[in-house]
Homo-oligomer: 219 residues x 2
DNA sequence: GTTAAGTTACTGACCAGTCATTAACAGTCG
DNA sequence: CGACTGTTAATGACTGGTCAGTAACTTAAC
């Protein structure tokens, strides 16, 4: 009566392992941080044994590097495309904000941000990669949009890089607060959409042209 | 020829120990984080042995709580006084910004902020303490200044709490970037004063009244 | 039967927390 | 004043638990 050929106790899946492990590792790193993350836990979550991790990653640090690269690169490649075509600066900015807000609210952002602000300092190369490729790149993109808007007169003239930095700052901090609603009571009851709208409204106010001929949309 | 009564190998200083230990602990926690900080290192830095720490603090966690409370409370008590008297809203805001910028640039801020964003999540009570007593309190203060300014017409009318949150966001993010200049190249060459001036200018632009009778200072 | 994927039991390093011991200081008395 | 004593601050060797990394063994798959 016994099912004589039972399921094999495990399978060989060399193609899929790296991704399984990276996903599990991101989750555990996100929730515990680098130092406190146990390879046992990552292994369990990935559905493999600890030893298996070492078949694909030389050590914990390399695994961590893998996670960061994987996550960040995935994020970068996802963005950038959609709003580049949009010509109207304000609409382009809106598209960018929407996308960025989605990223900020994703559960990957707080993990990356937390890591960047604490443990990434022990990995100067990774940190610089993050600063240049994620933060810097986003700021340069916004910069271009803003410069277009200054040309057409919908934004006041100012150092576009500074403005981009300000916008970035508003997003980042609100993002971290958003993910800590339970402690930041002043944010807890505000619906997502409203929070984004507040940032948008504030930023556009700061960027609106000085009094003068009320600039109409161009084109 | 021997100096027969040499220095004693150690001294009894029960009054001074707690502060020595807290100072050393702050330094080590700041540089390594909670989990990675070794009590040995804290002891060495404080000039005592590991066992001594346990005479004054029940365990590592209590020591950590001590550091947070000590640091944060010291910060809170330092502020608040000076600009409360200043009646002119813009000048009051300037005073507040100066003070806050000094705090942001101090070497305690990045430590506290880093801890708050990573390890403090394991201490809900401490985290809430930080959110309410530091961030919340600062925002409420700014809020009052802004409301005064809206009354007198130097600021446009809007939800003052939202505006305070925006200002806070600008400061916090710029603060963390400031302390990571080496990676954020776009900030590296900007003198402190200019950075603060940029934030100030941007915020005041966002808050300036809508076009209309250009509001003169009142009183 | 061979190979490569995967497992598991182990080891060595690290470190929070303990405790038996030591030394500084105060007080007391000859 | 100097010896003697009690008290308690302070020390540091040690313990026990945790966990990254290893290596000898097992099993899937062809």
């Amino acid at each position: 009566m016994s099912e004589h050929v039972a399921e094999p106790r495990w399978r060989r899946l060399p193609e899929e392992r790296p991704k399984q492990i990276l996903d599990a590792a991101l989750a555990v790193f996100a929730e515990r941080g680098l130092a406190a993350a146990r390879l046992e836990d990552i292994a369990k979550r990935a559905g493999v044994s600890k030893g298996t991790i070492y078949l694909y990653f030389a050590n914990k640090e390399e695994l961590f590097r893998g996670v960061v690269r994987d996550t960040v690169i995935a994020f970068i490649e996802r963005g950038e495309a959609s709003f580049a075509v949009e010509r109207d600066p304000i609409r382009a900015l809106d598209v960018w904000m929407e996308g960025h807000w989605r990223w900020i609210r994703s559960d990957v952002f707080p993990a990356m941000h937390r890591l960047a602000n604490s443990e990434l300092r022990d990995f100067p190369d990774l940190y610089e990669f993050y600063a240049v490729e994620v933060v810097g790149r986003a700021q340069r993109l916004v910069c271009e949009i803003l410069e277009r808007g200054m040309e057409t007169g919908v934004f006041r003239r100012m150092d576009a890089l500074v403005a981009a930095r300000m916008l970035s700052a508003l997003f980042v901090t609100h993002g971290t607060w958003y993910h800590q609603k339970h402690s930041f009571k002043s944010i807890a009851n505000i619906p997502d959409g409203v929070l984004l709208a507040q940032i948008r409204e504030f930023f556009l106010h700061a960027m609106r042209p000085d009094a003068g001929p009320s600039s109409p949309l161009v084109d």
